[in-house]
Structure formats: structure tokens, C-alpha cells
């Protein structure tokens, strides 16, 4: 396991998200943003085991998934700024990231809506006897939607190559899991369809990486779908660049507990034991610089026009 590589990927996401959070109040990013700070390990741990041709579908909180799969960051920042150079030309904003060059197919902001699409992608992979798999990132609330059950049933029935990568961050907007489900053990959902299941600490990158490595290999070997529960926590508000702890929907000790388990700091501390501090600092500096440059460049880019808005309603 190349811990430095994992650190690089996770810090890249953190740096982009922090920069968005910092710049957002200026009003140049005029769309809702659901930041991934705190949840980086889930996306990086899985994506480091994927090939470019493997397919990923994501949801409203898609930044980490997109960057981890190798999505073009400059196009992502342009998209959030509503610029013409955006990954979908400005029509989507933060919640609709996609980069087909790395098979990051789409982010669908309606909870669970992407499960159907990813099932179709996996069905197609199976029909073509390809060695590719599909990963769909879902959250704890996704398991409350009927479409999850419909798709889990079909995926298991046809042994489709799909990984249900479930990030449990304990909240749907402001509503805690305990008000929505009987408990936080999602094994029951996988068991219902005889889908193999594992739970990992979603803030422990080494664990996510090594467990998902085996799972992905299993899926590629034709063993059918898998359900991976990753317990994690978002640091910032549900939607927007700030904290929302003043709303008191999350217990203070709970927030502190999870912030201490920050996946990035955890890994950084480990790395510092074996590596030169300067090396880590220089990695971080280089990433920050790269991100800074992108933001400067994007501000100068052009907006799409009303003419662009009328395009692609129908394929000709």
C-alpha cells in the first residue's frame, strides 16, 4: 500500500473543498455545494482499486468521488462557477459532476436515483462479459428509498458486477439516522438479498483501501454484487461552505469525537512517523498551489450563453 499516494489523493480533495469553502462567500460559485470534508477516505480507498474503465455513479455529495476517480479538477471548478469550460458546460453545477474520460458517468442529486442507472451500467457490463465493474456511492438515507431494494434484488438475482458503496454519515440533512432507521447496522439490507456485506471504519483509509481491494477483486471474478458500509462523518454543513453546529442538531461531543477521527490527520500522523516532515509539507504546498492556480484561471473564464442553454434537448 502506497500510503503517500493515498495521502496525496485525500489531501487533493481536502484542499479543493477547503478552497471552495473559503471562496464561496464571494458569490462567484452560484450553486448549492455539498462538501466532502471528512469523508475523503471512502472515495479514495475505493477508487485506488479501480481501473479507468470501471464505472462510477455518484450523488449530490460528489466532489470527493469525482476527484478520487481522476475527474478533471479544473473542469469541476469551472462547473461550480457556472463557466462554459465546466465538465458539463455549466448546466449542472456542483451536483451534476461527470467526466466520461475516466468513466465517472454522472452524479445524480436526487437521493438513490443513480442506483437504477448504475444497475443498468452493471447489467451492460455483464451482458458484454467485460471485466469491468460499477461502483455506486450511496448514503444511509439511500437505504430508505424503494429503488435500492428493487436494484439490490435484481443485482443479486443476476449476479451483476456492482459495488454498493454506502457512506453512512449518520444524517440525512439534519435528521439523524436513529429517527429514520432501527439501527446503523446495514447488514440486514444486504442479507435480505443474500448480498455479501462488510462494514469498515470509513475514516480509516488503510482499512477502506484493503477491504475494498478484496471486494473489487471478488466482483471482478464474477461473484456478483457487494455491499460495503463505510461509517464516516461530514465536518461542514449539509449544504454550503460553513459549519451548521449552531443549529444544535448534532451533539457537540459527537462532532468533537468525529473531528478527532479526521481521516486525513489520522493518516498524516502515521506518515509523519516514517517520513520526513518536510516531504509531507511540500506535498501539501504543491497541491494547494495547484488548486489556487485553478481558481485564479477559472475566474477569467467565460460564461455559457442562452444559446448554449437551448442545445442538447434532443439527440439528432
Amino acid at each position: 500500500m502506497k500510503l503517500l499516494k493515498l495521502f496525496y489523493e485525500m489531501y487533493l480533495i481536502r484542499s479543493v473543498e477547503k478552497k471552495i469553502s473559503l471562496e464561496y462567500p464571494k458569490g462567484n460559485m452560484r450553486c448549492p455545494v455539498h462538501l466532502s470534508i471528512g469523508q475523503e477516505a471512502c472515495a479514495v480507498g475505493i477508487s485506488q482499486n479501480l481501473k479507468r474503465e470501471d464505472v462510477v455513479y455518484s450523488n449530490h455529495r460528489c466532489h470527493a468521488h469525482y476527484i478520487a476517480k481522476g475527474g478533471n479538477i479544473s473542469e469541476m471548478i469551472s462547473e461550480i462557477h457556472g463557466k462554459k469550460n465546466g465538465c458539463v458546460g455549466g448546466v449542472g453545477g456542483s451536483m451534476h459532476l461527470q467526466d466520461l474520460s475516466v468513466n465517472f458517468m454522472a452524479s445524480i442529486p436526487i437521493v438513490s436515483s443513480s442506483i437504477g442507472l448504475s444497475l443498468g451500467a452493471a447489467l451492460n457490463q455483464k451482458r458484454l462479459n467485460s471485466n469491468k465493474i460499477t461502483v455506486v456511492y450511496i448514503g444511509d438515507a439511500s437505504l430508505e428509498e424503494g429503488i435500492f431494494f428493487e436494484c439490490a434484488n435484481f443485482a443479486s438475482l443476476h449476479k451483476l458486477p456492482i459495488l454498493f458503496a454506502c457512506e453512512n454519515n449518520l444524517f440525512s440533512v439534519y435528521t439523524p439516522l436513529k429517527q429514520r432507521q432501527i439501527n446503523s447496522d446495514f447488514k440486514r439490507y444486504a442479507d435480505a438479498f443474500k448480498i455479501p456485506y462488510k462494514k469498515v471504519n470509513g475514516n480509516n483509509i488503510e482499512q477502506v483501501f484493503s477491504v475494498s481491494k478484496k471486494i473489487i477483486q471478488n466482483i471482478k471474478n464474477g461473484k456478483g454484487p457487494y455491499f460495503l458500509q463505510m461509517d464516516t462523518y461530514r465536518h461542514l454543513e449539509h449544504c454550503g461552505p460553513n459549519n451548521d453546529d449552531h443549529l444544535n442538531y448534532r451533539n457537540k461531543t459527537e462532532v468533537e469525537f468525529w473531528k478527532k477521527k479526521d481521516p486525513l490527520i489520522d493518516l498524516e500522523n502515521k506518515l509523519l512517523k516514517k517520513n520526513d516532515k518536510k516531504k509531507i509539507i511540500s506535498i501539501k504546498k504543491n497541491i494547494d498551489k495547484k488548486v489556487e492556480k485553478i481558481f485564479v484561471k477559472v475566474l477569467k473564464e467565460k460564461y455559457p450563453t442562452t444559446k448554449d442553454a437551448k442545445k442538447y434537448v434532443y439527440a439528432i
Binding site: V55, V88, G89, V91, G92, H96, Q98, L100, M105, A106, I108, I110, S113, I115, G116, L117, S118, L119, G120, A121, L123, N124, Q125, R127, G146, I147, F149, E150, C151, N153, F154, L157, K311, Y312, V313, Y314, A315, I316
Partner: protein, 367 residues
């Protein structure tokens, strides 16, 4: 000479609407290996009233996939599969089942191309059947073409005649866009001339069934058959109708209607669904916006604003029929009472007395 006779014979081949649909699907499956079917009961004894009978046997289970009863997830999968490069024909036995998948249809089928800036094509066809009669009731008899037609990115087609059914099926299956294929259950009984050949043509918005200078009638699906009988009766009395069949209400292209109404200056629209907020309202609004002067007030027909009841006693006034159409036309063209009486007599002579909840034998054609 002999060859000519043979050609004539070939051209006159008559098959049913059901067979026309099946032929369209079968030929498309032969032409495009990327196409496969999905549906509930695709391989059962009824096989969608015979429209997909034998297809599973001919093409194998890989091309005809049985769906668990899960419209939302499975239409989502059909969309995902088509984004990935396949083509999927989804078969549902009633329009109402598609409502489970409305989120997938509206958010993913209709918008994937737009959001991806032309990269994600969604070549799926969703076949939906509209029920009528024999007590189908509130949740088995809705057509909802106005709802599907109000969504940019979707295409909607509604065949009336067997040849149209085959042509529209093939065109839909070879279209790059998601198509909602609305099929009236009673039309399954009709027969008509259908070309044996496989042919892809451009999807037309409107076809002209009859040419006339006195009044424009625009209708679709089974209502076009009802209107056709009215038109044929009026012809005997030298009242000439421009009868337009709106085969594709989405995307809506009304050039043909504008041309017709400029000539006739009278417009009657007939909706398959509810009159309120139906297609007729949109058509008339666009005519008004174009400032096309009319000789009579525009008239809309369609279902009243309540669900379709099951009981025979409650549906008497529910569906537009020939007599109601004739009464509207009488008002619009100011047909004198004595003349109208003769027209009605002629119309009634050709209409057998049958219960209102079973298909009129006239619907069988041949057309």
C-alpha cells in the same frame, strides 16, 4: 403483368395492430444486436396480448429479459444500460405502472443528454398501454400523453393504424432519444395494410388522414378512428374535413395545423386524456398566438375532469364519441337542423348498437 399482380398482392397484405407491433419489434431485434427487451411477463402465455409472442423463443433470454415487478429500478436500469451503449424496449401493461418510474423518466431519461452536453444518449422505448372499457376504472384507463409531452427531452408517440404502429415502433427503436410509446388497448383489434419491409423513416409529428376545406379536426390514437367515421359521414353531405392525426405530441410541431386552420378557419381538438390542460389547450393557444383568424370559436373535446369510473352506468358521458363530435361540428359550421337530422341518421345507420364498454367493431378496420 404477373409481377404487377404479385406486387399488388404484396402491398395489400393485411395484418392486425398486434402483429404489426410484433413485426416491428422482431425486425428491429434482427437489425440491431444492441437492442433487447425488458418487461414483466415477457415470456408468459399472454405475452402482452401477443405483441411479443414467440420473441423470447426466437431471440433467446438474453434479448428478452424478465423484469421483477420493480418499474422504478428497472426503468432506471434500462436508462443506465442505454447510456452504456445498449438499446432497451421496456414493455408495461398499463400507463399507470410507469408512474412508479416517473422520477427516472423525468430526471434521468429526459435530462441525461442535456446534462452531459450531448454525450449520454438514452435510446430507450417505454411501451405503455391505455385501457378502456369493461370496467377498467380509475387506475387502468389513463393515457397521460399531456404529462409526458410537457417534459423536454422525452419523445411521445401514439399510433392509430397498424401500419403506423409498425412504423412508429421501428422509428422509436432507432431513435437516439427516450420515447414513450402510448398504445390504446382497443386498437389492438384493428387490421390494416402493413408493409412487410423494414424501414426507418423520420418521426412525423402529424399525419393527414383526410383533406378538406371546411373544418380542421386534430385528434390522436383511438379518437382518430372515431373522428374518421364522422369525417366519412360528413363527406356524403359535402362537408369536407381536414383530419389530422397527432402521432407525436412531443416534440410538438404544429406547422401542419397552422396551415390547415388558415384554410378552414375552424378548429376542433380531441384529447385522449383530460380536456383540462390537455394537448388541445396547447394547440389552440398556439393558433391564437399566431393570430390566425377563426370563423367559429375553437372547440376542445376530451375527458371530463374526473377519473374514469368502472361502472357502465357512469361512463356514458365520459368518452368523446361520434355523436358528440357531430354536435360540436353542427354548432361550429352552423349546420341547419333539418340537414343535421339527415346527417345523424346516416351516421347512426353505420353505427351498430353495442354496449359502451366494449370496442366498436368499426375499430377492427381494415384500415
Amino acid at each position: 403483368m404477373q409481377k404487377n399482380t404479385f406486387m399488388q398482392y404484396k402491398k395489400k397484405r393485411q395484418i392486425s395492430f398486434v402483429e404489426a407491433i410484433r413485426e416491428g419489434i422482431t425486425q428491429s431485434l434482427q437489425k440491431d444486436k444492441k437492442l433487447f427487451l425488458m418487461g414483466e411477463g415477457v415470456d408468459d402465455a399472454a405475452s402482452m396480448w401477443g405483441t411479443i409472442r414467440g420473441i423470447s423463443k426466437e431471440f433467446g433470454k438474453k434479448r428478452v429479459l424478465e423484469m421483477p415487478v420493480a418499474e422504478n429500478g428497472l426503468i432506471g436500469a434500462a436508462i443506465g444500460c442505454s447510456i452504456a451503449g445498449s438499446k432497451v424496449l421496456v414493455n408495461l401493461q398499463r400507463v399507470e405502472f410507469s408512474l412508479y418510474a416517473f422520477e427516472q423518466i423525468v430526471n434521468n431519461a429526459a435530462k441525461s443528454l442535456y446534462i452531459s452536453r450531448g454525450k449520454h444518449n438514452v435510446p430507450i422505448v417505454i411501451r405503455l398501454v391505455v385501457g378502456r372499457g369493461w370496467g377498467q376504472g380509475p387506475e387502468h384507463a389513463q393515457s397521460m400523453e399531456n404529462i409526458f409531452s410537457s417534459i423536454p427531452g422525452l419523445k411521445v408517440v401514439m399510433p392509430t393504424f397498424p401500419n403506423e404502429a409498425k412504423e412508429l415502433m421501428i422509428n422509436s427503436l432507432f431513435d437516439k432519444n427516450p420515447v414513450i410509446f402510448i398504445e390504446h388497448r382497443w386498437l389492438h383489434y384493428s387490421r390494416g395494410e402493413v408493409d412487410k419491409k423494414f424501414k426507418i423513416s423520420k418521426l412525423k409529428s402529424i399525419t393527414k388522414i383526410n383533406s378538406g376545406k371546411d373544418i380542421t379536426i386534430i385528434s390522436n390514437s383511438i379518437n382518430t378512428l372515431i373522428a374518421k367515421r364522422v369525417v366519412d359521414t360528413l363527406k356524403l353531405f359535402n362537408i369536407k374535413v381536414d383530419l389530422l392525426n397527432l402521432v407525436s405530441p412531443n416534440p410538438l410541431n404544429l406547422e401542419e395545423v397552422f396551415k390547415s386552420v388558415k384554410k378552414t378557419k375552424n378548429i376542433l381538438t380531441i384529447d385522449l386524456g383530460h380536456k383540462t390542460l390537455g394537448l388541445g389547450g396547447e394547440i389552440i393557444a398556439q393558433i391564437v398566438e399566431k393570430n390566425i383568424r377563426l370563423k367559429s370559436s375553437p372547440v376542445r373535446m376530451g375527458l371530463p375532469f374526473h377519473p374514469a369510473p368502472s361502472s357502465m352506468g357512469m361512463i356514458k358521458d365520459y368518452y368523446p364519441d361520434g355523436k358528440k363530435m357531430l354536435l360540436k361540428i353542427k354548432e361550429m359550421l352552423k349546420i341547419k337542423d333539418y340537414k343535421f337530422k339527415i346527417i345523424m341518421e346516416a351516421y347512426n345507420k353505420n353505427s351498430p348498437k353495442i354496449p359502451i364498454d366494449v370496442p366498436d367493431p368499426y375499430f377492427k378496420g381494415p384500415f
